[in-house]
Amino acid sequence: MTDSSRLQGRDAFLTALTQKLGRPTAAAPTAFYLPQQRQREVFQEYSLEQLKQHFVDYSRQNLGAKVIETTFDTLPQVIEQDALERFDEDSISLLIGTDARFPNSGAFAALDSRIQVKEWQPEEIREQQIACAEQAQIGVVFAECALVESGTIMLKSSKAQGRSISLLPTHSIFVIQQSDLLPRITQACERLHEQATQGHRLPSCVNFISGPSSTADIELIKVVGVHGPISATYVILTDQ
């Protein structure tokens, strides 16, 4: 246990700490069992249909998200319609990730001429892509999975889907495969735990996003839309 150039002060820190604990540094943790497993019981009896219904209702009522159910083939048209409904402008800039689960880019090229579709270009210059996201009104990303209990979208940062796409534009569109609906954060955490157990480094950014950004810092009144997106649409692909 020695300090490297990227690790500072550990030895002295731990020596002081274990002195307080009154024992040498532990080679292994003590055994640990949770006294209960309540987290596994939530929505255990729900069918997929019931899970979806709860997800849709919660996201609409509690988060103010728009939720659309559609199929893979009609995804580009659904996105087009959502964009035109949301923005009444001659030129709407839409930034989309290049996740392999999206239809190929040709499908988006044929959208209404008012919509300027741009793809996230990981080979480009960082500042340029961030500026592009800053100027886009809409960011479209593919979700890793979604959590029913809290109306949450889980995203992993990747080469094809940068963090900025779901962060800088004023409106977010999240695309979710119905088969990726999980009861709650428990199941998502289990997946991350598995990945860590297998010794894989996790993606640098995993986000659990529940609706648009919000605050209640003034008089505890909820205001939707602070630093992150101001509105969100969830598109569920029911045939996936």
């Binding site: 246990m1 604990l21 640990f32 006294p35 900025s164 709650r184 996790l202 640098s204 810092d217």
Partner: protein, 476 residues
């Protein structure tokens, strides 16, 4: 701002604060809403007490094995390509961050809300190096531009201000000309702060939980500012109190579920962001460099003391949202960045009795806080223990101790007290109607009748209440 937020004596502070009607109304309103939100969320989940048991046992296990998990965590961060600094003191922590900032030639920093960076007084250190520091949490930002007004709540720091005051601050400091509508005020800040995110050289965040097994940190927010602070600047520095970790994602699940419900009454907040090391080489946005600063600053002393259980705390503020003393005197009266019952226990431990000896008396020992704490910290017992420790150390003459403190002061003003009891009863009625009964103002009334320093019965609040019911106690 460091931990201490006021040079005035406690007695003076509360005298001034008790006359601040805007503050008192704002705090009462906030407390009622937050109390109700939490209770509803806990009810909706069900088996809340079991969840609290899970939370407490996870936290105890971590404290028991803290050295092991800190080694695992730091090894993983290094493996992921990050940097780790273990800082025994506040000065060590700020010196390290100062050094990183200098290396990066940083001229501006964006921060997302973090109690521990307040505790170590980070902003002053950066600012004396000519670095512009922007607090990006809306509440923190309001306080920062209001000439560094002190926070009054650990989750919603500007809760003592109303919309008109915020409007005035924005008008004076930023030339804002809009209305006092929270939505318009918020949008204005959104536009105003964006530039800082884009320009900042360094993003600094706290850390709600570090995950030892993967070397990750989890940030729990609503506004999106923590995401911006960690996506755009090229360097990210996360600062954590050394006890704020969980072994694996399985425990993160439970802790996040407890924290979000207890703090804001939601199953999850708007953003739960899990960050692992610097960005991958093939990704565009995200930090190129990641530093984790692990701060002791007195925590290991607490670990070895009879106050150890306070280190379970996950900073949800549910205790403050329930506390009648907090309701009366407001968060700023505590004179510490940590207010409410958690602040009254923690501030003397981290900052010393000399500065914070009055805080353990800002409590009627009604034990309502014990019953809402998601990790079952016996807060009222710890407050009593503080009094005991001070009595044994003969820190101040007994008579003096009995005459200071919020409640003694309130006692001298029967009108204020009656008024407060009435407000409390109104709040409680609402809670009963919502089907969750955790707090009865009679507890305070009962205490009020005795007027002396009460003894804890070591009886939980609900037991007491149940007994009272069985004895035909009234329902009002």
């Amino acid at each position: 701002m460091s931990m201490k937020t006021s040079q005035q004596p406690f007695k003076e502070r509360i005298k001034v604060k008790m006359q601040d009607d805007v503050m008192r109304a704002s705090v009462a309103n906030a407390q009622e809403r937050m109390f109700g939100n939490r209770a509803r969320a806990a009810d909706a989940l069900g088996n809340w007490d079991d969840w609290r048991d899970m939370g407490a046992s996870i936290r105890d296990h971590v404290l028991e094995n803290l050295d092991y998990y800190l080694v695992q965590l730091s090894d993983k961060v290094i493996e992921n390509g990050g940097h780790v600094c273990f800082a025994k003191t506040a000065d060590e922590a700020t010196a390290y961050i100062e050094q990183v900032a200098k290396q990066k030639n940083a001229r501006s920093v964006v921060k997302s809300k973090s109690m521990v960076t307040e505790e170590i007084g980070l902003n002053q250190v950066l600012e004396r190096n000519g670095i512009k520091v922007v607090e990006t949490d809306l509440g923190e930002y309001i306080l920062q531009i209001d000439d560094h007004d002190a926070p009054s709540h650990i989750v919603a720091p500007a809760i003592h201000k109303n919309r008109r005051q915020v409007q005035q601050i924005f008008a004076d400091k930023l030339g804002y000309q809009g209305s006092d509508e929270p939505e318009e005020l918020t949008r204005f800040v959104r536009e105003h702060i964006r530039q800082y995110f884009v320009q900042a050289d360094i993003g600094i965040t706290g850390c709600n939980f570090a995950i030892a097994e993967s070397g990750s940190i989890a940030l729990i927010t609503n506004e999106g500012n923590a995401r911006l602070s960690t996506a755009l600047p090229k360097t990210h520095i996360a600062v954590m109190g050394m006890e704020r970790l969980v072994p694996t994602f399985k425990e993160l699940d439970v802790m996040v579920s407890l924290l979000c419900r207890s703090a804001v009454g939601l199953p999850l907040t708007g953003y739960v962001t899990v960050l692992t090391g610097p960005k991958e080489a093939d990704q565009l946005d995200g930090p190129e460099e990641f530093h984790l600063v692990i701060v002791d600053n007195g925590r290991s002393d607490i670990l070895a003391s009879e106050f150890k259980s306070i280190l379970r705390c996950i900073r949800c503020a549910a205790c403050a949202n329930t506390c009648p003393a907090y309701r009366h005197i407001g968060g700023q009266s505590y004179g510490s960045i940590y207010s409410g019952p958690i602040g009254a226990v923690l501030s003397p431990l981290l900052g010393g009795y000399e500065d914070f000896q009055d805080l353990p008396y800002a409590c009627s020992l009604c034990t309502a806080c014990n019953d809402v704490c998601p990790v079952k910290i016996p807060l009222a017992d710890l407050l009593l223990k503080h009094r005991e420790v001070m009595a044994n150390a003969k820190l101040t003459p007994l008579k003096e101790r009995l005459t200071v403190g919020a409640f003694q002061l309130i006692n001298k003003h029967p009108y204020i007290w009656q008024q407060s009891i009435r407000l409390g009863a109104k709040a409680a009625n609402k809670m009963i109607n919502n089907g969750d009964m955790r707090f009865k103002p009679q507890a305070v009334e009962e205490w009020h009748e005795t007027r002396d320093l009460p003894h804890t019965s070591h009886e939980s609040f609900r037991d007491w209440f149940a007994k009272r019911q069985n004895n035909g106690g009234s329902h009002d």
